[in-house]
């Protein structure tokens, strides 16, 4: 059982956020480079930087297992950085790094789920694989006939300063496997530098150069220091007490002939010089790193979503209070010229405030879309289908909470396209005159308060006969098969208990059908439709509201209760003449309008509200769209329309099934009272 180091709990959120976004970046780079089959320098540096950051922050948080993997990954990319051409066609490297990325994500999820006590997963398997891969790359490198000079390797070097008077040279060895030796060495230097003058150390650049770890592991860390005010022995004691220090030994000054011998071994006289070229290269790398870093330093900050929610709530409150003040009954009948002027100004400002707060919550869909790149890539390999992912309009912005909830449905749809949509072989495609590489397209666009997301493929399309036959076999048809229109047939695949693919594959058809996708999307107030043309491809069209929080509502009065119904579901409202009501043998009421018969639902009966308006001609009728059907609602009167801030029902009420009764939430109106929001879809389902 591992615990997060004390004092680090507050950093956990940040760590999780940062690491997750880095992993996404990593995936993106790998997908890009794999398809291009070449690593460009910036990408390698970027991967290196990602690995390094993850390693550092994992070590800081005390997640040793994670740190070790990142460390090995870094080692691997160290080799790649030297010889980028090695990874050309080396798919095992990509496979491995993707696995690492997945393991990381899984582990982070575990940590996130129970930060208090989680079991660190044993990653020795993957670490071994990383080491193997590094070896394999190394051997490729060696057979390439070009052995690269390892920095600081082999030859033992002692800095010249060691001969200075009063100086003491110590070789420190750290505990095996403690990791991040260079940083530990740096910490050690910091520890003693108050009492001693550090004359030199080997390797010299422990703070900035993590590659020195290897050297330290092999040869120990050599410090040449001169004690100030205290004795050298005191310093030695400090070193001995330091964390992770396994042993230390004072080194006697090498004898001159030894030195000469050593120098003869070395190609260059000065100990630091063999690495001069390298360090120049490294400096260049660092410059690139810095450049990349500064490029990312946009004027962005990350904010806890809970704070935004709070801000949003307060703004909602201000708007409500504002109408309470401006339309206060105490002001009735008064002529207040300057008051009205000030009130108008206030309204303008609060409107702006609301827009700004809403825009803060809006994030581009790009993040959610890019995650799909990974899925396409994985499935391409597993299913041996050649496909590319095309993104369109990924900068379209939607509310953050919606983006989060879109991940699963999108993933499922993309998997469906890859698995069921696209033809099994390239030959099959070419025979049909299509390009060998299939296309899965994700596109998003804005359209009047809605975002329309399309997941489409250019595959085989949906075979309607097959769908019908399957549906009949599964017994989900409610009418004779001939009665179904083309559109209805397509929608059958969204019904529970339907799956067209005969074989259950790893990716789709795990018992989670399209009906789940559909209900997930409906949960966030969206809708899912299918379009398909046989031989040309299939499109899944998701329509979602821009934001969950504010909808345009129409207010209805029933008795003393005020209901709000989203305008998007109202088709028309009208006052009905007498004798237009039809009652069937069961007593169910219907109404004829332009030759179409609609069932009538009286809201006062449905919600058991006392009202004087029971005659249809006295009230108002609304045709509302609920799923595939239209129904006619009867209310006392219409009050008007207004954008409303949707609030969920209090948690306590979830003990009862209010949502099943056709109410999706509530909203606070201008006068401070609460109005219930009608969800037309559920109004009917319960009947």
């Amino acid at each position: 059982m591992a615990k997060i180091e004390p004092g680090m709990e507050s950093m956990l959120d940040m760590y999780i956020f940062e690491t997750s976004s880095l992993l996404e970046q990593l995936d993106e780079i790998l997908i890009r480079t794999e398809s291009a089959n070449a690593f460009i320098e910036e990408d390698i540096n970027e991967v290196f930087r990602i690995m390094h950051t993850i390693k550092g922050s994992s070590a800081m948080m005390g997640f040793d297992n994670l740190q070790k993997i990142a460390h090995k990954g870094e080692d691997l990319f160290f080799i790649i950085r030297e010889k980028p051409e090695l990874v050309k066609d080396a798919h095992f490297v990509y496979e491995l790094i993707f696995t690492v990325s997945d393991l990381y994500k899984a582990e982070i999820e575990i940590i996130q789920a129970s930060p208090e006590d989680f079991e660190p997963t044993d990653f020795s398997d993957i670490i071994a694989r990383l080491e193997d891969a590094a070896k394999q790359l190394k051997s490729m490198e060696d057979t390439g006939g070009q052995t690269s000079v390892q920095p600081n390797k082999g030859a033992e070097q002692l800095p010249r300063e060691s001969s200075a008077e009063g100086a003491m040279t110590v070789r420190v060895r750290f505990e095996a496997g403690c990791g991040m030796e260079n940083l530990r060495a740096f910490l050690l230097l910091n520890k003693i530098k108050d009492d001693a003058e550090i004359l030199a150390c080997v390797p010299p650049d422990v703070e900035t150069n993590s590659d020195t770890s290897a050297y330290i592991i092999e040869n120990g860390f050599i410090i040449v220091f001169k004690a100030v005010e205290v004795t050298n022995e005191d310093i030695l004691a400090v070193i001995g007490d330091a964390v992770n220090v396994e042993s230390y030994e004072a080194i006697n000054l090498p004898k001159p002939e030894e030195k000469a011998e050593k120098e003869a071994e070395k190609p260059t006289p000065l100990p630091t010089e063999p690495t001069a070229e390298k360090s120049a290269a490294r400096k260049k790398d660092e410059e690139i790193k810095k450049a990349a870093g500064s490029g990312q330093k946009q004027s962005l900050i990350s904010v806890n979503l809970a704070k935004l929610d709070l801000l949003h709530d307060i703004v909602g409150e201000i708007i409500t209070t504002e109408s309470m003040v401006i339309s206060n009954p105490d002001l009735d009948g008064l002529k207040l010229e300057s008051f009205s002027k000030a009130a108008r100004q206030l309204r303008k400002l609060t409107d702006e405030l609301q827009d700004t707060v809403m825009s803060i919550r809006m994030v581009p869909l790009a993040g959610a879309f890019q995650k799909m790149g990974r899925i396409v890539r994985d499935m391409k390999v597993k299913l041996n289908k050649n496909a590319e992912l095309v993104l369109e309009g990924e900068n379209t912005e939607v509310d953050k909470s919606i983006v989060d909830m879109l991940n699963d449905p999108l993933m499922h749809l993309v998997r469906n396209c890859m698995d069921h949509g696209i033809e099994n072989t390239a030959e099959e495609r070419e025979a049909l005159g299509k390009p060998a590489v299939a296309q899965v397209k994700l596109s998003a666009r804005n359209s009047s308060g809605e975002v329309i997301i399309t997941v489409s493929d250019d595959g085989a399309g949906i075979n309607k006969e097959k769908v019908l036959a399957k549906a009949q076999k599964n017994g989900i048809l409610t009418r004779p098969a001939e009665d179904y229109s083309a559109k209805e047939i397509l929608n059958i695949i969204l019904l529970p208990g339907f799956s067209t693919n005969e074989s259950v594959t790893e990716y789709s058809g795990r018992g989670v059908g399209m009906d789940v996708v559909k209900s997930n999307i409906e949960q966030i107030g969206g809708s899912l439709t299918v379009e398909s043309e046989e031989g040309k491809g299939t499109s899944f069209i998701i329509k979602i509201p821009l934001t969950l929080a504010i909808v345009d509502g129409m207010k209805l009065k029933v008795g003393v209760t005020v209901f709000t119904i989203p305008i998007s579901s109202v088709r028309e409202s009208f006052i009905v003449g007498e004798n237009r009501l039809i009652t069937d043998t069961e007593g169910a009421e219907m109404i004829m309008l332009r030759g179409v018969c609609y069932p009538v639902l009286r809201l006062h009966k449905k919600f058991n509200i006392k009202t004087d308006v029971t005659e249809l001609k006295d009230g108002i009728m609304l045709i509302v769209r609920a799923g595939e059907n239209d129904i006619c609602l009867f209310a006392d009167k219409l009050i008007g329309e207004q954008p409303v801030v949707v609030k969920p029902f209090p948690k306590f009420l979830s003990h009862w099934n209010i949502k099943q009764e056709g109410l999706s939430g509530c909203t606070i109106m201008g006068d401070g009272t609460i109005s219930l929001i009608i969800d037309a879809n559920n109004l009917i389902n319960t009947d």
């Binding site: 909602g316 209760t561 058991n608 029902f649 009420l653 009764e661 609460i674």
Partner: protein, 175 residues
């Protein structure tokens, strides 16, 4: 009546003083909790004070369908939507019309907030070992299901409600 009340308060004060003295002598009789007492249908109930957020007048209540009749509806308390439970109906008493003493006690447990309609609120009391007693275990009658313990003072006994149980779900559905 007023005299009586004053006398009661006086006696209670005396009582409290004596208890405070006792407490200083006897370390076992420290204050365990503070409770807010309120009246519902001639009975005095109490809620441990840490659960009480505020006490408000009866606001406009919006009725909600598909809930038991003791859930009167939902109210707006500074832009928070909070369900309201009528204690009278919850404990099987008859509903009475609200008067100017009727109030809503907002209680909160974790992330669940509920308003409780009470006939009136009266006082805040200290609970000590000496004035606290458990509900009887034998013949565990249904009525004390929501009673955590009983506090007694000169005025009589107060039933301290178990808020966690009251705001819990499963039991309520059965009633």
């Amino acid at each position: 009546m007023t005299d009586n009340n004053e006398k009661d308060t006086f006696e209670e004060l005396l009582d409290l003083r004596m208890k405070a003295q006792l407490a200083s002598q006897n370390d076992d009789d420290r204050e365990i909790a503070k409770v807010l007492t309120f009246n519902v249908a001639e009975q005095v109930y109490a809620i441990e004070i840490q659960y009480v957020t505020e006490i408000i007048e009866i606001p406009h209540i919006t009725a909600v369908p598909a809930v038991p009749d003791y859930i009167t509806g939902i109210i707006n308390v500074r832009s928070k939507v909070i369900p309201v439970m009528n204690i009278r109906l919850r404990f099987g008493k008859d509903e009475i019309a609200a008067d100017d003493r009727t109030c809503v006690i907002i209680v909160n447990d974790g992330d669940v907030s509920v308003g409780l309609i009470a006939d009136s609120v009266s006082d805040v009391l200290s609970v000590r070992e000496s004035n606290r007693s458990e509900t009887p275990d034998a013949m565990n009658v249904n009525s004390d299901k929501f009673i955590k313990y009983i506090v007694e003072n000169a005025d009589g006994v107060k039933l301290v409600l178990d808020i966690k149980k009251l705001l819990g779900s499963e039991d309520e559905k059965e009633i």
